[in-house]
């Protein structure tokens, strides 16, 4: 098993992560320089090239690899202008000189450009390229990827995972704890929003992150969505290794250093005793709303391995949510948890 660990971007974080890096940690990744290219998620600290070079050297001394994420889902066509091409080529050249180990992109043109012009850089396809089938994986392999981060929507579709494994020779990576909504209706729009918020050009002055707030609200109203979302428990990694997938990427570069280190340890130890919510990135705001005892999810993977994803007919995740999810309640200066069913009572007032 190899773990790919998020890094918020500042040197202090890198040093702390390295101090506690487990033997499973293989690569550490951070966002690139937003003055050149944004990314698909919030970026808290984006180092300039000088700082990046120092961080890469530091990591190499520790015998770890550095990945740089440049995965906006939309670049407004800049990459297909001569000015854009020259800028990205210059930037990739700099990363190459610094001996960065991998660059993660979502844009097909950048995949091909990196593969053709910078053969020493490992080209990793971002989850934002939404590879969810053998055919799509083969298209990107043809363009030149070395590794593919698969669409999280197929994290629990073992038949598709096995087919992709058969169809391509690229390294396959799974994002284990992103925990976005399964088949999220906001996914493309949200990545596009971040791409424009973190990239070049005029940044929209938005009144709110509608997609995020709506996502969290959905989960509060329908807690079974937390169970349906395609996270992978540390204990279940072995099911993926059994089908030949052994690169696991952790999400969470906008989280605290301590959170990242604790998650790294949980996945390295293949074990987590406590609230599953403590490992999940996207819905981490709900850590103080839901308590999901990870141990009580033992065995659920067996159902998901054969799951046809017809939720309206199945009801397994909904029943699991009713069984395991507890809701925090604050009363008399004490925090306790209640079963979901006690919170979801019959309306007292109609």
């Amino acid at each position: 098993m190899k773990l790919i660990i998020p890094h918020p971007g500042h040197f202090l974080a890198l040093k702390e992560i390295c101090k506690e890096a487990t033997k499973e940690a293989d690569e550490i990744y951070m966002a690139g320089t937003p003055e050149v290219l944004g990314s698909g998620r919030i970026t808290l600290h984006a180092p300039l090239l000088d700082e990046m070079e120092k961080q890469i050297q530091y990591l190499h001394e520790k015998r770890l690899k550095m990945g740089v994420i440049l995965n906006p889902s939309c670049m407004g066509g800049q990459h297909l202008t001569l000015q854009g091409y020259n800028m990205f080529r210059w930037y990739f050249g700099k990363l190459n000189e610094m001996e960065v180990d991998s660059v993660t992109v979502a844009e097909p043109y950048l995949v091909e450009m990196l593969a053709k012009e910078f053969p020493d850089i490992k080209v990793v396809l971002s989850v934002i390229a939404h590879v969810d089938s053998p055919e799509r994986a083969r298209f990107f392999e043809e363009l030149g990827v070395d590794a593919i981060t698969l669409d999280t929507n197929i994290n629990r579709s073992f038949d598709i995972l096995e087919s992709i494994k058969e169809a391509v020779s690229s390294e396959l990576r799974l994002l284990v704890n992103e925990a976005c909504l399964y088949k999220c209706p906001f996914r493309y729009s949200h990545f596009n929003l971040f791409s424009h918020m973190t990239g070049l050009g005029n940044k929209p002055n938005i009144f709110s992150d509608y997609y995020y707030e709506k996502c969290i609200s959905f989960r509060v109203r329908f807690p079974e969505l937390v169970i349906k979302s395609p996270w992978i428990r540390p204990e279940d990694l072995k099911a993926y290794e059994a089908i030949g997938i052994d690169y696991f990427k952790m999400s969470g570069r906008a989280n605290t250093i301590r959170w990242i280190i604790d998650c790294m340890k949980a996945y390295s130890n293949r074990s987590h005793d406590g609230n599953l919510m403590d490992l999940l990135d996207c819905p981490s705001e709900l850590r103080d709303m839901f308590y999901i005892p990870n141990r009580e999810l033992e065995g659920a993977i067996k159902q998901w391995m054969g799951c046809k994803k017809f939720c309206h007919k199945c009801g397994f995740c909904k029943a699991t949510a009713e069984r395991v999810i507890r809701v925090y309640e604050f009363k008399d200066s004490q925090r306790k948890t209640l079963p979901l069913s006690e919170v979801r009572t019959k309306c007292a007032i109609s």
Partner: protein
């Protein structure tokens, strides 16, 4: 002062559990804040998730009841209690109980819907 500060998390929990009880569904009060603005208003603000505008239509009386009770406990005498929605959506994201300064009394207190994202729950 410490006693007053301790009241804030207690009232956060109280607001959350009361709404959960009368709605009969999970609701999450992320944060309860007591604020003072530059213009001179004082008040409390609860950031929340899990409510929709239709809940306001059904439970307006109950929301006003609990928000008034908490305001009183915090020593506030709100002129205005309102819910804030995400513009263009059904999502309710905050409750505010506010003692208004003279300017805001004019701006927020003069109309039934002073801004498209605000739903006035009670006005005195």
């Amino acid at each position: 002062m410490r006693d007053f500060l301790n009241k804030i998390p207690e009232n956060r929990g109280k607001l959350e559990s009361t709404i959960r009880k009368f709605k009969g569904a999970p609701v999450y009060i992320i944060e309860l804040k007591v604020f003072g603005t530059a213009c001179g208003c004082i008040g409390m603000l609860a950031d929340l998730r899990g409510l929709q505008t239709e809940d306001i239509e059904v439970y307006q009386k109950q929301f006003v009841g609990i928000l008034s009770e908490i305001s009183k406990d915090l020593g506030l005498k709100p002129h205005l209690i309102y819910a804030r929605t995400l513009p263009g959506s059904f999502e309710v994201v905050a409750f505010t109980a506010r003692e208004l300064c003279s300017r805001c009394k004019n701006e927020l207190g003069s109309f039934d819907k002073p801004r498209p994202d605000l739903i006035i729950l009670s006005k005195t």
